[in-house]
């Protein structure tokens, strides 16, 4: 099932994500995906996020698919050159993966192998172009494929980046290269997101707002200081600080955000970061 089919039918699309394990024990990953299964359309499998070496997102995508859960295969350009990237795309299609999310990827210096060679032979834009080429039956060199792919191509955008103009320009470049839907970096400020969507809607490509479950005031302050383009407004931090039941407040904040923005975007992408079990409550409270 392709996300583009759902958008075409006018559905408000819901996705979430799980992280493959550091090791071969996939039980917890599968368990987390099962918690989300009945409430989301598809689940992203992160590609060694923060440059921390883990089980691969392609294998994890296949495991979810086998369990009846629609995977979104995240692919970064940090670890593979164009030969390996294209090869893995062919492999993914052969294994039944239909949805792709193309990213540049974090720098290796952020992870547990800062001494590794950072590849970045391609980037998010040229990876989208390469994937589109495979969909059309030819590799990057123009060689004809014996059997082509037919991926639904996704990309990411950061609505809160400064300058936002540069994000919008890159968003346009991604669309021109083949992007058919976007998942955004975490949104905490509905008004700022509305201003972004005012500009982005003219592109005519579905945008899914990123929603992170706040766990504590400290987490919010950490993100404000360290995560590019993410800003948790002070009133939300105060709300978490004064809360006597933080999980309940977290669910309430996420649900309220979704209610505020669901009219101006085409879906949400919920990043539970370990709170998978609370996602159904968020969606209930958001009326989804």
């Amino acid at each position: 099932m392709k996300l583009t089919d759902l958008f075409r039918e006018g559905e408000f699309v819901i996705t979430s994500e799980v992280a493959p394990p550091k090791g071969t024990d996939t039980a917890e990953m599968i368990e987390n995906a099962e918690l989300l299964k009945s409430r989301v359309n598809a689940i992203n499998l992160t590609d060694q996020q923060s440059s921390v070496m883990r089980l691969g997102s392609l294998a994890a995508s296949r495991l979810l698919k086998a369990g009846g859960i629609e995977p979104i295969f995240q692919m970064t350009c940090r670890d593979r050159n164009r030969i390996a990237l294209q090869s893995d795309l062919l492999s993914a299609w052969a294994l039944g993966v239909e949805n792709l999310l193309c990213l540049t990827g974090d720098h290796v210096s952020l992870g547990d192998f800062p001494d590794a060679k950072a590849v970045f032979d391609l980037d998010s834009v040229s990876l989208l172009a390469a994937a589109k080429g495979l969909n059309e039956g030819a590799d990057m060199a123009g060689n004809e494929l014996a059997g082509k792919t037919d991926f639904c191509l996704g990309a990411v955008v950061t609505p809160g980046a400064d300058p936002v103009e540069l994000q919008l320009i890159k968003m346009e470049k991604k669309i021109a290269a083949g992007a058919e839907f976007f998942q955004t970096q975490a949104v905490f400020d509905a008004e700022a997101f509305a201003r972004f969507m005012e500009r982005a809607k003219s592109f005519g490509v579905p945008v899914m707002a990123g929603i992170i479950l706040l766990k504590s005031p400290g987490m919010a302050r950490f993100m404000n200081k360290n995560v590019a383009g993410v800003h948790v407004p002070d009133p939300l931090i105060d709300e978490m600080k004064s809360s006597e039941d933080r999980p309940a407040t977290s669910v309430e904040i996420a649900a309220r955000l979704i209610r505020e923005i669901k009219g101006i975007c085409q879906g949400v992408h919920v990043m539970p970061l370990g709170w998978e079990a609370r996602v159904p409550a968020v969606l209930d409270a958001a009326g989804l």
Binding site: H107, D123, V125, D162, I169, A228
Partner: protein, 231 residues
């Protein structure tokens, strides 16, 4: 200008396993400026090696160790100490070490690491660096090269990891290259260039020297002088 730092003496001693006597070579060019290849540093290296029980049969600081003809003439008076040495320890950049190894027909040990400057710079030193990619696209990037200025070498726009205009990899010392490109184009009223520029996909084959250049007379003369005199 190439910047070098000396390797720890333990690492150099590891290279000398089984050897008893060495000749030292320094360089009065970039290495002297880096504090690794000038006379004081060669004498310091001599002291360090002698303290480890290695005999230093002689030493010479050549004006430029990247100049093979100069190495050859500079070493003529040293044939005896060179012959007595098991090997040569060279305290300079990777180019000088290679040039010395070509001229002197003996085992050569590097005493330095050459520090990356992230691409070559102009003769008049500035922060602008060129990766010699062979497909200049400065036309589309406001005259700022993201291949050398961006930590990831991204050629189609920023990764989104910059915080307050600074690179997430080295926030203290590195501006986001694409932020700087954006600022310049905005100031010049040329932001449309970013939208209209074609998707860049680098041809890394062009980052190797073209065979046409390997075949030139200049390259050939260099090879002939080198090979002719050492064989």
């Amino acid at each position: 200008m190439l910047i070098t730092v000396r390797k720890p003496i333990q690492e150099i001693m590891g290279f000398l396993a089984g050897e008893r006597a060495v000749f030292l070579l320094g360089c009065d060019g970039c290495a002297a400026a880096s504090g690794t290849g000038g006379e004081p540093e060669i004498l310091e290296l001599k002291g360090d090696l002698e303290a480890e029980g290695i005999e230093v049969t002689g030493w010479k600081v050549v004006d430029f160790l990247c100049q093979k003809a100069l190495i050859r003439t500079s070493l003529r008076p040293f044939s005896e100490p060179l012959a007595r040495a098991d090997s040569i320890v060279v305290s300079t950049c990777g180019i000088g070490i290679q040039a010395s190894a070509t001229v002197v027909d003996k085992a050569v040990h590097p005493a330095c690491n050459t520090i990356s400057l992230g691409g070559i710079r102009g003769e008049w030193q500035g922060e602008e660096r060129c990766a010699e990619c062979g497909q200049c696209f400065l036309e589309f990037t406001a005259g700022i090269c993201p291949l050398t200025a961006c930590a990831k070498g991204l050629v189609n726009g920023p990764c989104g990891g910059a915080v307050d205009g600074c690179c997430e990899v080295e926030p203290e010392t590195r501006r986001c290259a694409w932020d700087v490109i954006y600022e310049r184009l905005e100031r010049q009223g040329r932001l449309d260039l970013l939208r209209s520029s074609p998707v860049q996909i680098k041809d890394f084959a062009q980052m190797r020297p073209p065979s046409a250049i390997r075949g030139t007379r200049r390259w050939a003369i260099d090879m002939a002088v080198t090979e002719g005199e050492t064989r």
